[in-house]
């Protein structure tokens, strides 16, 4: 088969490619442009309004009950969790600690292996430890966990380390990922998770959140918003925010978190 025939075949096969329906991008962009045009027309009055509002808010923040009403989010390390609109102060709405079983993934993403291999910043564990500048910890529970299958260090306004363990029997299935994010990195915000529970890791306050919830990552210049269905245990220690994502239960997640040890 010569090159031309091969190209003809590619063209013919590629015609069969099944794409998702094209969304109404023109409509969305037009709406965004029109709203920003309206906004810019009002910029000057708005600037004054914002200044006044900021002064008012600053004054209100000095009054404890008002501050409690305004700051309706839970902050743990760099992560902020907004339990929901028009609620009482967040800490008062938390459920008591109770075992919760996460839904295991029975249909892992088929693209995951390819995806994991394409992510920026993949490196070896020893190298990650050198770059990170803080101790990378590994779980000693469960004993069969072993070393992570993938290690990444990415610049998120600070070296963010991500360790990923995949299922030995189903490499397309992630069983655990552990994120180390130093202070000053990207802000991570979650909105109205389905479940938020107080928990403890080594006697320190921790939060367990279950999806679905929108997750926003931002660093002032960039922002990503995604709907997340995962379960995550978050705690902070020594200026590092730890996020442990797993399909295991909260009890298991806490056991894993409490078993973290420096790299031998």
């Amino acid at each position: 088969m010569n090159e031309t025939e091969f190209e003809k075949q590619l063209l013919a096969i590629a015609k069969g490619m099944e794409y998702p329906r094209t969304p109404d991008i023109a409509g969305s962009v037009t709406a965004r442009l029109r709203s920003s045009t309206r906004l810019s027309l009002r910029t000057r009055p708005l600037a004054w309004s914002l200044t006044i509002l900021l002064i008012l808010l600053s004054s209100l923040m000095l009054i404890p009950p008002a501050r409690a009403a305004i700051l309706e989010f839970i902050q743990i390390g760099i992560v902020r969790i907004f339990p929901g609109p028009a609620q009482a102060p967040a800490t008062a709405t938390l459920e008591p600690l109770a075992p919760t079983t996460a839904t295991p993934s029975s249909q892992p993403s088929t693209l995951l292996t390819t995806f994991l291999n394409q992510i920026a910043g993949e490196t070896k564990l020893a190298n990650a430890q050198e770059i990170a500048g803080y101790p990378i910890l590994l779980p000693s529970y469960p004993p069969e966990m072993g070393l992570p299958n993938h290690v990444y260090v990415q610049d998120a306004n600070g070296p963010m380390t991500i360790l990923v363990w995949v299922d030995a029997q189903q490499p397309e299935r992630v069983t655990l990922s552990l994120h180390f994010t130093p202070e000053g990195s990207w802000a991570i915000e979650k909105f109205q998770p389905a479940v938020i529970q107080e928990a403890e890791v080594n006697g320190q306050r921790a939060i367990w959140a279950e999806g679905p919830y929108p997750l926003r990552l931002s660093n002032g210049n960039m922002e990503f918003v995604r709907l997340i269905d995962g379960h995550v245990l978050i705690w902070e220690e020594g200026g590092i925010t730890y996020r442990l994502e797993t399909d295991m239960s909260l009890e298991e997640a806490v056991k894993i978190a409490e078993s973290l040890q420096p790299i031998p």
């Binding site: 090159e3 091969f6 190209e7 075949q9 590619l10 063209l11 096969i13 590629a14 015609k15 069969g16 490619m17 099944e18 794409y19 998702p20 094209t22 969304p23 991008i25 023109a26 969305s28 962009v29 037009t30 965004r32 442009l33 029109r34 045009t37 295991p104 993934s105 029975s106 249909q107 892992p108 993403s109 088929t110 693209l111 995951l112 390819t114 995806f115 394409q118 920026a120 990415q154 998120a156 963010m160 991500i162 990923v164 299935r173 992630v174 990922s177 994120h179 990207w186 997750l215 990552l217 960039m222 990503f224 995604r226 997340i228 269905d229 995962g230 379960h231 994502e245 797993t246 399909d247």
Partner: protein, 207 residues
């Protein structure tokens, strides 16, 4: 529904008549002066190509939609810099391609994909019911994903979006000769990948 008359004029770019080209450049000029009503038909005409290229490069419809929207917002912002003597679609695809390249290696996308892996998502809808043609198309896409990003770009532009060489050159901002040589190299690699890892695709076509 009857297509928008302006859209109908500019949809099939490769067969643009002088009148249609004039129509598109007039719309671009008006849009560059802040006329959103002129920008909308231009987006309608090109949104499918922009979305599809983004989807091919990113493999996720949500990401593709984000990138497509961002493409049109960036293009709108820089319309005054657009050279009206050049074709418009490659310029848009070039922006989309750059944005997709940045997006696919971003931390945010990584986290999103990773957490999606925990989801209890149903398998791709009725794969056994898909036609052979669809299955082959998707299989080819999986094969192309094994190539380096720059090779993927050129294959998608040339064979999936069916851009002529000169337009692919505009998108990639290289000479036509460079497109041809890069295409040859990419095809050679793809042929090997198909032969070694996609026997069904290979056999189906050899038969």
């Amino acid at each position: 529904m009857e297509p928008h008359p302006i859209k109908r004029c500019i949809t099939n770019e490769r067969n643009l008549s002088g009148e249609a080209q004039l129509e598109e450049s007039t719309l671009i000029r008006r849009a560059a002066n802040g006329d959103t009503t002129a920008w909308e038909p231009l987006m309608l005409a090109h949104q499918q190509a922009v979305f599809r290229l983004s989807y091919l490069l990113l493999g996720d419809p949500d990401d593709a939609e984000d990138v497509a929207q961002e493409t049109f917002l960036r293009a709108w912002k820089h319309l005054r810099r657009f050279d009206l003597t050049r074709p418009f679609r490659p310029w848009l695809l070039s922006i989309a391609s750059n944005l997709a390249s940045n997006r696919r290696r971003s931390a945010g996308r990584y986290l999103a994909a990773l957490t999606r892996a925990f989801r209890n998502e149903p398998a791709s809808a009725g794969i056994e019911e898909k036609s052979v043609q669809h299955m082959e198309g998707n299989e080819l896409w999986q094969a192309v994903k094994n190539l380096e990003f720059t090779d993927q770009q050129i294959i998608y532009l040339r064979y999936f979006l069916e851009l002529p060489v000169h337009e692919a050159a505009e998108v990639l901002q290289v000479a036509e000769g460079t497109v041809k040589s890069r295409l040859n190299r990419a095809l050679e690699k793809l042929r090997k990948i198909i032969q070694e890892g996609f026997p069904l695709l290979s056999e189906g076509r050899e038969a």
